[in-house]
Subunit: 249 residues, 4 copies
């Protein structure tokens, strides 16, 4: 295996596809959106990227081993072509992030991509009710477009910049004159967050021009809701017990 | 020294050998099996692999220094040829894991290996009585064979995937169309576990078709049993002392 | 992108420019001086250096993404040409530090630089009133010049040597016969320190021969002063509360 | 600068020199011996090795910056030629250790070295009175010679093997058929230990055949003795205070 190993599985003819990146990150927001698109829409696996910059690991699904990889899917969304990039891992080192992002950009432009959206979450540190979507872009035009679709641009946010592939898709995309934006759904940062993913997806629909159902995301959100409630009950129960003990003591 | 340095010590003529990997890992299960095979059966050291991806270290045995390496042994088991891969170290970085596994696969296929078994342990987090063996494979045929010999395939296990050379032998083996399986003995994860090694070895015997005595593994198991009992006594003694102190206090 | 990617933005004709380095470090002293020079004097952005040795990150300013980089500016200071090197990041690994410093020295000598000053802070571990400037140099001539301008040379200081680009500019500069010195302003080490930056800047003015106003640095110093006072008040308040509690308890 | 940069400063004609390595390590035992040899005997600096595997750092001596390096000195000891390797740093990564040791071996054999002694300390975890010297060697002949000069070979010691350049000089030296041994002075592991260094030096004198005075090592030992006493007094004083407090409380 070389530093990167691209396994090409299909050569679809796409029309001005939009690259949509949803790798693991804060609240798994980007990954949830990417997975939802693959679940709801017709898609074709275009390429798998293996790399020694990924963890030295196989995942096991139904007893079958699957080498760590990122996957590029061609997705048709109401007549618009998407290239959806997702996977289970990020690179494990700085140089790996840079080189892998460069490779993703090569793949995307080889398929004719002319713009890209990197999806992720921005941690707020507390449970939230209203899921805002924060933006960053490489061009004024794209920033205006985002604002028109409800994306917020807040001064000094995100404070720590954008790290990993999502950030570098913007940084390296700009250096290639490929208009790029990052959509970051607000999320507590503590839990997988399907509601934040829905907020990001709604913006993406507006920006690209397509519609999908939200049912499976809602189901996942309900499941997470139950998890949160159980945790809260456990904490309260714990507190009760603590109080009892104090009382006894 | 180059990145990898293969010292060839023998060129045995082998018939369809099976690669058996037992490098250090959870409960040292894989390594115990590999060492047991070398102890019980006729074997010949085929090659040593040195690498700057190993720790910068020599081990000392009887005052003699031995540079960190992995070793490939040809072993004859009831007429079946095995290639047993073992050693004292894993690679220290992600790229090292990938490249070293590729090298091991090169060596194995150079010697005609057509299938491989990676051996290891899967941590349960508690002391156990019944030592199940969990499996993962790269082909349906091999998975069926494993199941027929008592290997369990449990949904979502091992949860964290398989890390290191064992995992990559499956992931990179599959990419070379080399049928590969991982046999993981259940083990607490806290101690070197000869009983888990025996469970794995019994499955391996069935799969490959050979028999070895278990005496030395049983002796090691008895030794570990004593260690466990001493630890438990110490803990109970400690607790007794704590109680006394509380009582006095 | 390659390991390093130099984006050349201007080719100014400079006369015996002095390289002044102010990358992030202790108390951000060097960076504050570099930024102050760019704020107060006429400057032109000469080059941006991108590198996979920087963190894989974009910073966000007004919703626009900016890939991690170091910047080289040509600055005119009372008829003297400066090359001011600054940025938001240091390299993330040892080899990156060495290679990036070598590249900075290449850029500087390509523009005719014949001496260089690396700026930084030296931590004292306590809040201070008098801001001494400690020096280190690669030649006796330069050391004498520094001493004449009030820089102190103290035996065994800084105890841990000088780490990062500032240190290597001296170490690698000396190997190229490029006279180099490091000016280190004393600073607590806990806070961004504009007062320490001013002390370093005053020495630099003497050494190179130029003058700038200190107003904006003084404003920043006043802001920091307020921050320090608030922290002290909070600590005292906390202590008061603690006393109360103890009293009550 | 390349990965390694060897600055050659002299080309002495040496007769069967012995390489003596004393880089920083446990108790700084090896480094103390190397420094003592350079202090007591006639020596000439032969080469400096710079490397991006060293920390990105300059040390400051009398205000002058000195780039991290290892140094090779030719030393004449009662008619025997030594090549003494010392410095302030070890490599910072595994590959660096391997490659740097290979380079040191190249330098040593270029100068005709036919055997080598790596010096270090072995931690006992407690303050000690009798300073034994533990050994490891690459050949039986050398091991016998060491034993004849009072070096101890203890089964299973040192338990964790020998790490860093000292270990690899044996491991890689053996692969080049260069007889190599490691002399490890017992030391608490908590302090710089001139007494342990003296014990190692006495063995080295026997092995190579030379004599040096120990005065400066004894002075250093006395200094350390005072440090230890101060620490003990502080601990006792602390305990006294604690007792007082308890009594008062």
């Amino acid at each position: 295996m070389d530093e990167f190993d691209v396994e090409t599985l299909a050569e679809p003819a796409l029309t001005d596809p939009v690259l949509v990146e949803g790798l693991p990150g804060v609240g798994h927001v980007g990954k949830l959106v990417a997975e939802h698109l693959l679940e709801e829409l017709d898609s074709e696996l275009v390429a798998r990227v293996y790399s020694e910059h990924f963890p030295p690991q196989v995942n096991i699904e139904d007893g079958r081993a699957k080498l760590a990889s990122a996957e590029l899917h061609a997705v048709e969304a109401d007549g618009r072509d998407l290239l959806v990039l997702t996977g289970d891992h990020q690179a494990q080192d700085a140089a790996g992030h840079y080189r892998m992002t460069d490779l993703f950009l090569d793949l995307a432009t080889d398929h004719g991509a002319e713009r890209l959206f990197a999806l992720g979450g921005v941690p707020t540190g507390e449970l939230i009710d209203e899921y805002g979507v924060i933006g960053a872009a490489t061009t004024d035009d794209l920033a205006e477009e985002l604002e028109a679709d409800g994306v917020e641009f807040r001064e000094g946010e995100p404070a720590g910049g954008i790290v990993g592939v999502s950030g570098l898709l913007l940084g390296l995309g700009e250096r290639r004159d490929l208009p790029a934006a990052c959509l970051m759904g607000e999320t507590s940062g503590y839990l997988v967050d399907p509601k934040s993913a829905r907020a990001v997806l709604e913006v993406l629909e507006e920006l690209v021009g397509f519609e999908v159902g939200f049912e499976s995301l809602e189901e996942r959100a309900d499941e997470m809701e139950e998890v949160v409630q159980k945790i809260q009950q456990m904490e309260q129960g714990q507190q009760a017990t603590d109080d009892d003990l104090r009382y006894i003591g």
